[in-house]
Amino acid sequence: MRTPLLTASLLTLALLVGCGSQPPAPEQAGAGVEDRTPGAVTTPGVTPVTAGQPNAYDIAALKDPKSPLSKRSIYFDFDSYVVKDEYQTLLNHHAQFLIKNPQMKMLIQGNADERGSREYNLALGQKRAEAIKKALMLLGVKEAQLESVSLGEEKPVCTESTESCWAQNRRGDMLYSGEF
């Protein structure tokens, strides 16, 4: 219960200093108190920090396997370029990271499965990368921090001609500065 007492005595001290050293300010005509915008009361905040624990959106969190930021892939349905709802939480973490670290940039690499024309698949991968970029911008990320590109069918994580394998290749990956 020491804090209120300390605050009260500091306030008294301030009042005493104010009265003693300053001449009274001249009255200004027409400046009625009712015309003034009321000032907001501010209270200084305190964020508790435990030494040795990185902030959730610290750059170090990118390399922390326990951080949601370590998850970098978004998977798409066949012939689809829509980011599924299940990825909103993940995208929100990445958006917060980019907002809190404006010097960091993200390269979004879109991918497609192997069927059909390589150049058309490059364009399909681009649509997936664009969808992720747009989702991050809706969450407040600046466009200047984002680049969406496509690797088409050229960098498959899975190389068998099966549906489960193709599903892994219909993917967008998020890479940060220093990783590309």
Binding site: L107, Q109, R115, G116, S117, R118, E119, Y120, L122, A123, L124, Q126, K127, E130, E147, S148, V149, S150, L151, G152, E154, K155, L175, F180
Partner: protein, 425 residues
């Protein structure tokens, strides 16, 4: 009819280039033309002094074209001055006959001469004299085969042209240039990242391509003789699908700097980019018509990927393909009359051609994963990538679908073929 031409690989081994034989494209003929002209090519006098027999290369070229039937010459040797026994050649079934000689010159080079005869008319109808080094034996043979082909068919031969393609092996990508018969492969670019969409400049001296070495697709223009290359397009987003204008000054390209994949024009040095198409969907795979008036391209603006064309000078796009839900990769024949493309039908991707005047479509192949069709500069054959036994191979098919060949490399994937232009008009 299947015939494996192993002589090609044997030639490389004899030249002491055993390591090259590993990477050699070997050609298998899997179908031949119906109307084939019977021709006899005798062994040339003196050709045994060179390790690679000249006439075996000439015979292989003509046979591979699917337009000739080789008459057995049973080891007969004739030079260009030997008077042919026309009734004898006629009785052996030959309509045409070629004979010649190879002699050593005092400076270490060689001189090869040949003469072509019409057996029916009993008359000489052509010939050629060439000086060359021992390293140019194959090139000399291709020149002779081109001369024979042109004299007898009325069309230019493609045996002296080159092809570009990408070989993928264990985390390594190599852009290679080889002779049209798959021999003499030379690496132009090696990379740990993918290389796609090579496109020959009209003069045959440069290749534009897309390389992923910067972790994103970037377009380069590469001078083959000097090995010097420059970035032609590296805008924010993806840069891909380069296609040369017929004058070799500009590239039609695909950029995503303004959102989805859209068509742009850029000077070959990378300057002066202008936008060509504005659609809400994907526009890609641009290709100039040979007269430079139109850009053919793939677009999903109608809901599925189809081929469209649009005047380069500006104007509305016109849809070209209507059958099926997936028609991509438009490629124009050198005369501008035929469109080759890849069509999907029941999960199979196959090379098809459309006669642009009648809009008649013919599917040419019976494979399932065809990609990247590319016309030979005389318009007779289409080179494309496909998959056989889970491995990427190159294949060629004649525009009438009758002649079929397969080109494969041992233990590697071959893809992204591009047939180069004629080197001199």
């Amino acid at each position: 009819m299947r015939q494996l031409i192993s002589r090609l690989a044997a030639g490389a081994l004899l030249a002491g280039a055993a390591f090259l034989a590993q990477a050699q494209l070997s050609i298998e003929i899997t179908g031949a033309g119906a109307q084939r002209l019977p021709i006899a090519i005798t062994d040339f006098a003196g050709e045994r002094v060179v390790a690679q027999a000249l006439t075996s290369v000439i015979r292989a070229d003509l046979e591979r074209s699917g337009r000739f039937n080789l008459v057995n010459t049973a080891g007969s040797v004739m030079d260009e001055n030997t008077p042919p026994d026309f009734p004898d050649w006629k009785s052996r079934g030959a309509d045409a006959l070629a004979a010649g000689s190879l002699v050593s010159l005092p400076d270490g080079r060689y001189e090869t001469r040949f003469r072509l005869y019409d057996v029916q008319k009993q008359a000489a109808i052509g010939g050629l004299a060439l000086t060359h080094t021992s390293a140019q034996i194959r090139a000399t043979a291709h020149r002779i085969a081109d001369t024979i082909y042109e004299k007898l068919t009325g069309e230019r031969g493609i045996f002296s042209t080159r092809i570009a393609y990408v070989v993928k092996s264990a985390g390594r990508y190599e852009l290679q240039i080889a002779d049209a018969d798959g021999n003499n492969p030379q690496p132009a670019l090696a990379s740990r990242e993918p290389i796609i969409s090579p496109a020959w400049s009209p003069d045959g001296g440069r290749l534009a391509y897309v390389s992923f070495e910067a972790k994103k697709p970037v377009i380069y223009v590469h001078d083959l003789a000097s090995g010097k290359r420059h970035v032609a397009a590296n805008f924010k987003g993806s840069n891909s699908a380069p296609a040369w204008s017929p004058d070799g000054k500009k590239l039609a390209i695909v950029l995503t700097k303004d959102g989805n994949s859209q068509l742009y024009l850029v000077n070959a040095d990378g300057s002066g980019v202008t936008r060509l198409s504005t659609s809400s969907g994907i526009d890609t795979e641009p290709q100039f018509s040979p007269d430079g008036e139109f850009i053919y391209f793939t677009s999903d603006r109608g809901g599925s990927p189809q081929i469209y064309r649009q005047p380069v000078a500006g104007g509305a796009a016109q849809r070209i393909t209507f059958d099926g839900s997936y028609n991509v990769t438009p490629r124009l024949s050198p005369d501008g009359k035929t469109l080759a493309f890849v069509t999907r039908d029941g999960g199979r991707f196959r090379v098809a051609v459309m006669d642009l005047a009648s809009r008649q479509v013919q599917v040419l192949t019976d494979t399932a994963k065809d990609e990247s069709p590319s016309f030979a500069p005389n318009g007779r054959m289409i080179l494309f990538a496909t998959e056989v036994g889970g491995r990427g191979v190159l294949a060629a098919v004649s525009v009438d679908g009758r002649v079929k060949q397969r080109l494969s490399v041992q233990a590697a994937d071959v893809r992204e073929p591009a047939w180069g232009p004629f080197l001199n008009k």
